[in-house]
Symmetry: C2
Subunit: 608 residues, 2 copies
């Protein structure tokens, strides 16, 4: 059972996302395709051996507090140890610092294996990597020496501590306070909630990256600073020392994603809690957004990875489970057939494939855009890439966390009653995946971000840049149709036209809403989640057309034993354009019709 598949990853990265272009840049000149694929294969082996092995245990043996200490299954610690030993904490570390200096997109491809194998256990490690990336970018050399290096060694793990009980999505309203001390440190007081990995004994120390307000700071998000707050103070020799007064108030108990501790933390309640400012005061949100934007793409990737895991399980089941007969073969004396022969099961599998592989392509494409931003050779190119990346980030987070959850529901449905039991993993994927629409900014927040900010960025340049890329794919599809077999040529031509029309329609809807927004932002934003769905489906249609083009190119080149696989890509692309894009486009007509229900709603009457 492949719940993740390096061959699928290789197709997406090399042939669709095109990360090989990064290998032409000076930063990644030390890499080649074979090296990358070798990293993927060895990471996949670690994921299978040390993470997949306790997938169910992560769910059934939830973290608990025993005698004041958080207890986890032994397999979690073993997995983290194996991950560190395999060098996977050093994927992005600079070469001259002893790391592998991989592109982030390659690191994300690796992450997707671990997300599929064990979403909870990998979260301790990817949170640490994300915190490490932030310190690598904004921390001082001394801070990096003291906190980042032990994270890379796996001695310290990291967290991001943003939310508070009274301010879930509203960071402007956080109350955690930072008071300057004479030695340049700060005293931190307050409460944080939903902090993943906020307490455990997997490592010697935990490095919390905490948003707090320095006394006298401006109100709202402009007054937020970022602090390193270790659980234990770090001595001069680098070892953890005295308690830094970060108290575990309680563990939270979730529907899924149970293996990683979700915590409420109290800072500085019983004694001084020292925090160390990262960068400049009041710039904390900017720094954190560097981490959060990567985290958002990571959330989308994990949603897709879980969808892929469920897809492969249900595909395997559908190929072997015998049940029923064809509609035109009702004689009960004839043998039953594998359920994959039933049309409705094929729908359920193709829809999963369309969502899972579409989601993987979307997240990896955004990850590669991050790499492009970092390796851009001119400021103008970098600005453009950043605009495009910022535009796509809310989609990369929200779209998979909505539709890849639906994929997990379909996986259950393929297995029927068995899928609903805890004897099969598909129900756990469904429960685990339900978090992804909530954390790192709810999908509602992503819709507001997209329609309220991102599509208008650069005076509309972001949308124009996306349109240019889509137009290039459309042109490629028309060109490819020239040399494709008749059946595929007709499909590619039709897809190209559909995508062109959808993109034009999206631009019209956007312009219409922008005009409304000039008068009243409330009217513009009233249906922002539905706008995000329309936008997301259009983007994923684009990614599916790119997958189809890559598959057809491979077929043209002579695919050998992989021929069926590439034809499967063409089929999934057709499925998306047949069923998904048209139903999403129906939203466009509603979006340009004035709202007559939401803004004027009398909420008193919602129930007797």
């Amino acid at each position: 059972m492949n719940v993740f598949d390096p061959q699928e990853t290789a197709f997406l990265l090399h042939r669709v996302v095109g990360i090989d272009r990064l290998l032409q840049t000076p930063r990644y000149a030390h890499l080649d395709v074979e090296t990358l694929d070798g990293v993927f294969d060895s990471a996949a082996a670690v994921a299978e051996r040390y993470f997949l092995n306790h997938h169910r245990i992560s769910d059934t043996e939830e973290p608990e507090v025993v005698d004041g200490r958080v207890v986890l299954p032994a397999a979690v610690g073993e997995a983290c140890h194996a991950y560190v030993e395999a060098g996977l904490m050093r994927l992005q570390q600079p070469l001259d610092d002893g790391g592998m200096q991989l592109p982030w997109s390659a690191a994300m491809a690796v992450a997707s294996f671990f997300q599929a194998a064990n979403i909870s256990t990998q979260a301790y490690l990817t949170l640490t990597a994300a915190a490490g990336n932030l310190l690598a970018k904004y921390g001082t050399q001394a801070q990096q020496q003291r906190y980042l290096e032990p994270m890379r060694e796996g001695r310290f793990f990291g967290t991001m501590a943003l939310s508070e009980p009274q301010a879930g999505s509203s960071l402007a309203d956080i109350r955690t306070a930072a008071t300057p001390n004479p030695d340049g440190s700060y005293s931190i007081t307050g409460t944080k909630q939903w902090i993943s990995g906020g307490e455990h004994e997997l490592t010697e120390n935990i490095v919390h990256l905490v948003l707090a307000k320095i006394k006298g700071a401006p109100a709202g998000v402009r007054g937020i600073s970022l602090f390193i707050v270790p659980r234990y103070r770090v001595e001069e020799d680098g070892r953890p020392g005295a308690d830094n007064h970060v108290r575990l108030v309680s563990l939270l108990h979730k529907m899924g994603y149970r293996g990683i501790t979700s915590t409420i933390l109290g800072f500085g309640e019983a004694g001084q809690c020292q925090g160390f400012l990262v960068g400049e005061p009041h710039q904390g949100l900017k720094y954190m957004f560097h981490m959060m934007n990567e985290a958002r793409i990571g959330v989308g990737l994990s949603a897709a990875a879980l969808a892929y895991a469920g897809y492969r399980h249900s595909l395997d089941y559908a190929r072997t489970r015998l049940q029923g007969r064809a509609p035109d073969a009702k004689d009960p004396a004839t043998p039953m057939r594998p359920i994959i022969e039933h049309a409705d099961v094929r729908h359920q599998l193709l829809r999963q494939k369309a969502f899972a592989e579409g989601g993987l392509a979307l997240a990896l494409d955004c990850a590669a855009l991050c790499d492009d931003v970092e390796t851009a050779t001119t400021p103008q190119a970098q600005d453009d890439l950043l605009l495009l990346l910022d535009l796509l980030t809310p989609i990369a987070k929200a779209w998979p966390s909505q539709f890849c959850l639906e994929a997990n529901s379909l996986a259950i449905q393929v297995l029927g009653g068995y899928g609903y039991t805890r004897d099969y993993p598909v129900e756990q994927y469904y429960r685990d995946n339900r978090l992804n629409a909530i954390h790192e900014g709810t999908n509602g927040i992503q819709g507001l971000d997209l329609l309220g900010r991102k599509v208008h960025a650069g005076g509309g340049r972001a949308l124009q840049l996306l349109g240019e890329r889509i137009a290039a794919t459309v042109a490629q599809a028309r060109a490819a149709a020239q040399s494709a077999p008749a059946d595929t040529a007709a499909a590619l031509t039709a897809h190209a036209q559909q995508l062109e029309q959808a993109t034009a329609r999206l631009a019209e809807v956007t312009a219409h809403l922008a005009r409304l927004g000039a008068q009243d932002p409330r009217i513009m934003l009233v249906d922002s989640s539905q706008y995000l769905t329309l936008f997301g489906h259009t983007v994923v249609a684009w990614l599916w057309l790119r997958q189809a083009l890559a598959a057809q190119a491979a077929l043209n080149a002579g695919a050998g034993v992989r021929e069926a696989y590439y034809r499967g890509k063409l089929a999934a692309c057709r499925y998306f354009f047949r069923w998904e894009l048209p139903t999403a486009l129906a939203l466009a007509d509603v979006l340009v019709t004035p709202d007559d229900v939401i803004l004027a709603l009398d909420t008193e009457g919602m129930a007797p």
Copy 2:
């Protein structure tokens, strides 16, 4: 917190479904509206006191086998006892037999309270009621005396035992065998799976209604007979006696719906298992379908009841939780507002309301149709009503189990991170509700039933009858628009036109598919689930227009303190017609476009 609401039920039953017409029939002449509402109120009190009280316990204290006996939380037994004591097992029992002789629709309204309060515990009782209804219809007087009366007394509970491990959805392939004994009984051997309530110690005995094949019977579904198979043989004095060799092979452990035992049962393994034929040999499926059709409507109702419970929780949360500010009020010094003020949260609430109350209306309307069938005064009227009921039954089962699950997901989303924790009940509703798309025939089976059989029944008469009823509602809406305020008049007129067009489009799609089916049923049925969605949304749009008409009529009559509530109905109706019906209608265009992906799929290529 009202997770169910007799006032909502009263609105739907009296003003939308119109069950008061039943009170004009001789069978229900002993009832009046006040009596019915009194039954609802007292049943609601039982549901709140004895069922809602252990909602979470039903999830956390799953049934387990201890020393060979199934152990349940004490609250389950107490609840069942209170239910029986309140006379709720006798709701449908004939008057002259000591019962209340209520219409089934009224009994279902009562059931919906218990479904919302505790889906698992009520299942022991509603399964028993359903088994009892079957025996009341098809059992001999002696069988009724021996098995039915103790069920009404709550001394015996009932099950329906259809599925087998190798034949989940495919009843033609069941293997359980019945061998005639000289005394007229049968010896039953075989294995049944997914039997809810298949083992417990809540009652003295369990009456399994088992599908089995008598040796020499025709192959397939035409060779299936129905048997009463008690867990303990029943002595002449009515008391349970010797073990009848129905062995609990194992309990199944599910994602949700955990409080009712789901079992694998072995019949006749270690000794003779006696079964008693119900009705004629080989007619078992026909009898069972009487129960299954009611059960399918019951599944739809329970999906809607769970959606309603989640809706009310999230509504309550949204009214009190403070978070964020308006898009045009970004000053962080202004106070935060209740999240119900945010447009996206309103979407999430209205969508839940549209699905939950639409689903309740659909299930109750079908239940009242069952009553109409029973009270019809001419064979022609009865035939017509049965055609219409049969047409709507797969929709009543599948539509709520798909969209009311989505409602539960939205309830989680409104609560954000809190909704994902087990501290709030919304995540449990979501897990519990996920079963409903699977049991009593998966939704895929319902789609095949609808498009493969029901829409063609009576040479298209079923569809014609539905069309006539919808046309009548459309005409009422146009008439009501004449006397409604301008705003509502415009909405009603637009809804009437939309519904008329959707119904016409549905008829076109159906005729198109029927033509295809004449050539090849595989081609007709390839997208049957998507057809069911289109059909379901059209039917629910009809039910929403009926709700709007009832609300407007109440407003015209002077609604007093209930004015806001009726306006809420108008708003939810607008929401459904604005967002739901158009996106479902987009499926129609796809359904009439030839399939180019499902039937020709090379399934080898679905993964690398």
